[in-house]
């Protein structure tokens, strides 16, 4: 597609369940980023991939959060044993190259933990 695609758009889970969020970046984009956006706040960095290599995961809030991009295209963000504080919008962005490049965002997955 022309833009970054994320699915599902909405996800409701009970506390303790595992969830998986998917990101399809713009075709050919080398860099892929995951951000978390709380209500009324700006996005906050979670993790970064260059092709299939996860080069930075310093923003992941706990070891319950795991991301992968095995073939250097589609990425999945997995959250295990979800907690209420995980409720947020999870945004994926991609850029053509690394460094000083515009990052193009998807519309996010709104995750609600009950």
């Amino acid at each position: 597609g022309a833009g970054v695609s994320q699915s599902p758009r909405y996800k409701v889970a009970k506390r303790g369940q595992d969830v998986a969020l998917r990101c399809d970046p713009i075709s050919g984009h080398v860099s892929l980023f995951w951000y978390q956006q709380a209500l009324g706040q700006g996005p906050e960095f979670l993790t970064y991939f260059q092709n299939e290599a996860q080069l930075d995961k310093s923003g992941l809030p706990s070891d319950r959060f795991f991301a992968e991009r095995p073939e250097g295209s589609v990425s999945t963000l997995k959250i295990q044993r979800t907690q209420q504080e995980d409720s947020a919008v999870y945004l994926c962005a991609s850029s053509l190259l690394s460094g000083n490049q515009p990052q193009h965002f998807g519309d996010g997955t709104r995750l609600s933990i009950l």
């Binding site: 980023f33 951000y35 960095f45 970064y48 930075d56 690394s98 000083n100 515009p102 965002f105």
Partner: protein, 114 residues
Amino acid sequence: GESVGLHLPTLSVQEGDNSIINCAYSNSASDYFIWYKQESGKGPQFIIDIRSNMDKRQGQRVTVLLNKTVKHLSLQIAATQPGDSAVYFCAGMNYGGSQGNLIFGKGTKLSVKP
């Protein structure tokens, strides 16, 4: 580290007027900045970017000004239209990680009155 913040959380303007949204940053090592527009339920949409070797850049109806001396940037929107109503974020590139992720401010909500 880097922090990017906005001076005003809300801005209300009359249709046809010019809008100015301000942003301050703390890390003098940041050399790349982006302005994003985010509408309700959507991801951030790229508006314009600027590198630190420039102090001004113009796009269609938008101008970004960068003042490195006081670590300040602004977004000017000419002839503001109702469709410009959204939350606007400035973001600065952070080089604390391996390839640079964006650090966002909290956002300014722009409301355009017809």
